[in-house]
C-alpha cells in the first residue's frame, strides 16, 4: 500500500468493488445457466415426439406474413426470396420491403418473379415513409409474394411498412439474407396455437452462425465450424447467449429481446404498441420492451415464448471493422432502449422486468464494458505507481479467465448434448482453441467497440451505416 490513508482506502474500495462485480457476474451466469439447462431439458422432453407435419394439413394454423426488409441486397436477393417462398408452411405470404435500395434490387425481383404493379392500397396504421409501389406476381407459383418499393427510412421503417401491408394476424420479421430452418415457421407457430389464458405476443428462436456452412439454393446443407477466428468466437458467443442466456430469461418471464434477425409477433399487439421505433438502432429490443409494457399497462395477461431449436442461420462479421460497427450499434441500441423505458427501472408495476431484467441489462450488458475499462485503467495506474498487489491481481485474473473458459465449454457442451449441429471433432477442436484465445483478443475488442458506441452517443451519431453483402461464403464488405 501507499501509506497515504485516503488513497489506501480508495484502493481497497476499488478492489472490493471489482471483486464484487466479477463475482456477481459469474453468479448470475451460473444461475442463468442452471435455469436454462432445466428449461432446455424440459422443452426437449415435451417436444420429443411432436409431429410438426400436423400443421401442414391443419386449416387452423396461424396465418403468417414473413416480412423481409431489404437494402442494397441485389447480389443475393433473388435466391434469398426463393428460399423464403420455399419454407414448409401453409398459411403464409412473403412481403419483401425494398427500403430505397441504391442498387438494382427491385428490377431483379421484377424480372425474377414476374412482378407487376398492383392496385393494392397502402393504409399506414403505423406511420412510415411513402410507398412508391406494391408489386405482386402474375405467376401463380409466386402468388404468396408481395414486393413493396418505398423511400429509404431504415430497417424499422421498412418493417413497419411490411406490418401495414400484412393482412395476417401474425408476422415474422426476418433479415432477408437469413437462412431459415425448413421447420422454422412450424416451430414458431406452435406456441401461438397452445395459448389459452395468456396471449402469446411474440416468439423468438435461436440464431445460429452460417459462416463457412454449405448453403445450396437457399438451404443449409451442411454445418461447419467457420475458419475465420472472429466467426468462430461468435459461434461460441451466440451459443452462450441463446442457449445459456435467453432460455433462462424466457423461463423467468423476463426476456427483453427477440433477435431482429428472426422473430414472430402478434400483429395486433405490435400495431397497438406503435410498431418498430425508427428512431433507435436497437429496434428489436425496443419493440419487445414496448410490447411488454403495453400489455402490462393494459392489464392483459400475456407471454413471450422462446424456442431453443436452431431455427435461423445468419452471416456474422469476419472483419474487425464490421464487427466494431455492429457492436457499437448494439451498445447504442441498448442505451437508447434503456433510456426510453427508464420508467421501468425498479418499478413494481413491471415486476420481474423492472426488478431483474432491466437492472441486469443496465449493469451487466450496458455498463459492464465501462466498468471493465475503468478497472483496466485503474490497474494500469496502479502498475505505474508501483502499488499493485500482484498476488491479488494474478489470482483474480486466473479466476475470471477460468470462469470465462468454463462457461464457453459449458455452452459447447449444451450444444453437443442437445442439437449437435457440429459433428466432427475437428470442429469442436477449433471452437475450444477459439475459446482459449477469446478473452485476450475478442473480448477486449468488444469492450472497445462498446466504449466507441458510448462515444458515438455523446457525439450524437445516428443510424446503422451500410453493409454491402457479397453472399454466403464470401466476406461482407463494409462501405460505411
Amino acid at each position: 500500500m501507499t501509506g497515504i490513508k485516503s488513497l489506501d482506502i480508495a484502493i481497497l474500495i476499488f478492489n472490493y468493488f471489482v471483486l464484487f462485480f466479477a463475482i456477481s457476474v459469474m453468479l448470475s451466469y451460473i444461475i442463468l445457466a442452471i435455469i436454462s439447462a432445466t428449461s432446455l431439458k424440459s422443452y426437449l422432453r415435451r417436444n420429443k415426439y411432436v409431429n410438426y407435419d400436423v400443421l401442414l394439413t391443419a386449416e387452423n394454423t396461424p396465418h403468417i406474413s414473413l416480412i423481409a426488409p431489404a437494402y442494397n441486397e441485389g447480389l443475393t436477393i433473388r435466391e434469398n426470396v426463393q428460399s423464403l417462398l420455399a419454407i414448409k408452411y401453409n398459411n403464409f405470404d412473403v412481403i419483401v420491403v425494398n427500403d430505397g435500395s441504391k442498387d438494382e434490387s427491385v428490377a431483379i425481383l421484377i424480372s425474377a418473379f414476374d412482378l407487376v404493379k398492383s392496385e393494392l392500397d397502402y393504409h399506414a396504421q403505423i406511420p412510415t415513409k411513402d410507398v412508391k409501389a406494391i408489386y405482386t406476381s402474375t405467376n401463380p407459383t409466386f402468388s404468396k409474394l408481395k414486393v413493396v418499393d418505398k423511400y429509404n427510412g431504415g430497417k424499422a421503417d421498412a418493417l413497419n411498412t411490411g406490418i401495414n401491408i400484412s393482412k395476417n394476424p401474425y408476422i415474422v420479421c426476418i433479415d432477408v439474407d437469413c437462412i431459415m430452418d425448413k421447420d422454422a415457421l412450424l416451430k414458431l407457430a406452435k406456441p401461438f396455437m397452445e395459448q389459452s389464458n395468456k396471449r402469446i405476443i411474440a416468439t423468438g428462436g435461436v440464431i445460429r452462425i452460417a459462416n463457412n456452412c454449405v448453403i445450396k439454393a437457399g438451404k443449409l446443407v451442411d454445418v461447419k465450424a467457420p475458419d475465420n477466428f472472429l466467426a468462430k468466437v461468435q459461434v461460441i458467443e451466440y451459443l452462450r447467449a441463446f442457449i445459456l442466456g435467453r432460455m433462462a430469461w424466457a423461463k423467468m418471464d423476463g426476456l427483453l429481446i427477440i433477435s431482429g434477425a428472426f422473430g414472430m409477433f402478434d400483429r395486433e399487439i405490435v400495431v397497438n404498441a406503435g410498431g418498430y421505433n425508427p428512431k433507435t438502432v436497437g429496434e428489436d429490443m425496443e419493440l419487445i420492451v414496448r410490447m411488454r409494457r403495453f400489455m402490462i399497462e393494459q392489464k392483459q395477461p400475456y407471454a413471450v415464448q422462446y424456442i431453443p431449436d436452431p431455427l435461423c442461420w445468419t452471416e456474422v462479421p469476419e472483419t474487425y471493422s464490421i464487427l466494431r460497427n455492429q457492436r457499437s450499434r448494439w451498445t447504442r441500441g441498448t442505451a437508447e432502449t434503456l433510456w426510453m423505458h427508464r420508467k421501468m427501472l425498479f418499478n413494481p408495476k413491471y415486476k420481474i422486468l423492472g426488478f431483474i431484467s432491466f437492472p441486469y441489462w443496465l449493469i451487466y450488458e450496458y455498463l459492464a464494458p465501462i466498468i471493465e475499462l475503468t478497472g483496466l485503467l485503474i490497474t494500469i495506474l496502479f502498475v505505474f505507481l508501483g502499488i499493485i498487489n500482484w498476488t491479488y491481481f494474478i489470482l483474480f485474473f486466473l479466476l475470471v479467465y477460468s470462469f470465462a473458459l468454463m462457461f464457453s465449454m459449458l455452452a459447447l457442451f449444451a450444444e453437443e448434448s442437445t442439437y449437435r449441429r457440429y459433428k466432427t471433432l475437428k470442429d469442436l477442436g477449433k471452437f475450444c482453441i477459439a475459446a482459449l484465445i477469446e478473452p485476450f483478443i475478442f473480448h477486449p475488442f468488444t469492450v472497445y467497440a462498446a466504449i466507441r458506441g458510448n462515444w458515438q452517443i455523446i457525439k450524437g451519431t445516428k443510424g446503422w451505416g451500410e453493409m454491402k453483402r457479397t453472399g454466403f461464403n464470401q466476406p461482407p464488405t463494409n462501405v460505411k
Binding site: R46, K48, V54, A58, N60, M193
Partner: protein, 227 residues
C-alpha cells in the same frame, strides 16, 4: 442396435417369416429382453406402421403383441414419470391396442396437462371422435395445437365422423364445440349445415362465431357446387 433392429424388421416384414420363424432365424430372441432393444424396436414398429397399410400393418401388430413389446408399452402407463405415460399412451394407441383403453382413460384426470392431452388423443385414436363426449362438460381446454392433432388423427386413421357428432354442440366445454365445428369443416360434412346454422343463432362466443361463419360459407359453397 438400430441397424440390427431395422434388419430384423425388414426380414420379418418383406419375407414370409412369421413370428416363430423370426425368433428361430434371427437375433430377435437374443435381444428381446434388453430395454434398449425394446425401446428401439417399438419406435421402429410404430414408424413402419404409420407408413404401411393392410397386410404389413397387421403383421407389425402381430409382432408387437406376440413378442411382448406391448407389455413394454403397458408398463410405461404405470410409471411415475409423466414422459413415460405420454410415450406409453402414444405407443399403445398408435398400435391400436384396445385393451389399453380403460387405462388410458384414467389419465384424463392426470395432474400433468401433457398427459391429459395425450390421453384424449389416445382415446380418439382407439375409439374415434365420439370420445370427446368424455370431456364435453369438463374444463379440459383443447387448444388449437391439440385440435390440429385430433383432426390429423382423424385423417390419418380414416376415422369417420359419427352422425350424432352435432350433439356435442351442446357441450359446456367451448373448446369441444370449436373442434366439432372444425371437424365438420375439415371433412366438408354438408349434412350438418342445418345444425350449425341453428347453433349459430344461439352462440355469442366470438371465436366460435368466426369459425361458424367460415365453416358455413365453405359448406354452402360446396353444396352449391354439388347442385
Amino acid at each position: 442396435m438400430q441397424a440390427k433392429v431395422d434388419h430384423m424388421l425388414f426380414q420379418f416384414l418383406f419375407t414370409s417369416l412369421n413370428y416363430e420363424e423370426l425368433l428361430r432365424n434371427s437375433d430377435f430372441a437374443l435381444y428381446q429382453k434388453h430395454l434398449l432393444f425394446q425401446k428401439i424396436t417399438v419406435k421402429a414398429i410404430i414408424s413402419l406402421r404409420n407408413n404401411y397399410t393392410g397386410e404389413y400393418r397387421l403383421k407389425l401388430n402381430e409382432l408387437y403383441v406376440e413378442s411382448g413389446l406391448v407389455e413394454y408399452s403397458m408398463k410405461k402407463l404405470n410409471s411415475k414419470k409423466w414422459s413415460d405415460n405420454v410415450e406409453g399412451i402414444r405407443d399403445l394407441s398408435n398400435m391400436n391396442v384396445q385393451k389399453a383403453y380403460s387405462k388410458i382413460e384414467q389419465f384424463l384426470n392426470h395432474k400433468n396437462n401433457m398427459v391429459r392431452t395425450e390421453a384424449i388423443l389416445g382415446m380418439i385414436r382407439l375409439k374415434g371422435i365420439g370420445e370427446l363426449n368424455s370431456i364435453a362438460n369438463s374444463d379440459i381446454y383443447l387448444d388449437d395445437w391439440t385440435q390440429s392433432n385430433i383432426l390429423y388423427i382423424l385423417q390419418e386413421n380414416k376415422i369417420e365422423l359419427p352422425s350424432d357428432l352435432v350433439d356435442l354442440l351442446n357441450s359446456k366445454n367451448l373448446s369441444v364445440v370449436l373442434l366439432v365445428i372444425r371437424a365438420i369443416k375439415y371433412f366438408n360434412s354438408k349434412e350438418h349445415i342445418k345444425s350449425l346454422s341453428d347453433y349459430a343463432d344461439s352462440t355469442s362466443d366470438k371465436k366460435i362465431t368466426t369459425e361458424l361463419v367460415q365453416t358455413l360459407k365453405k359448406l354452402n359453397e360446396s353444396n352449391n357446387q354439388a347442385l
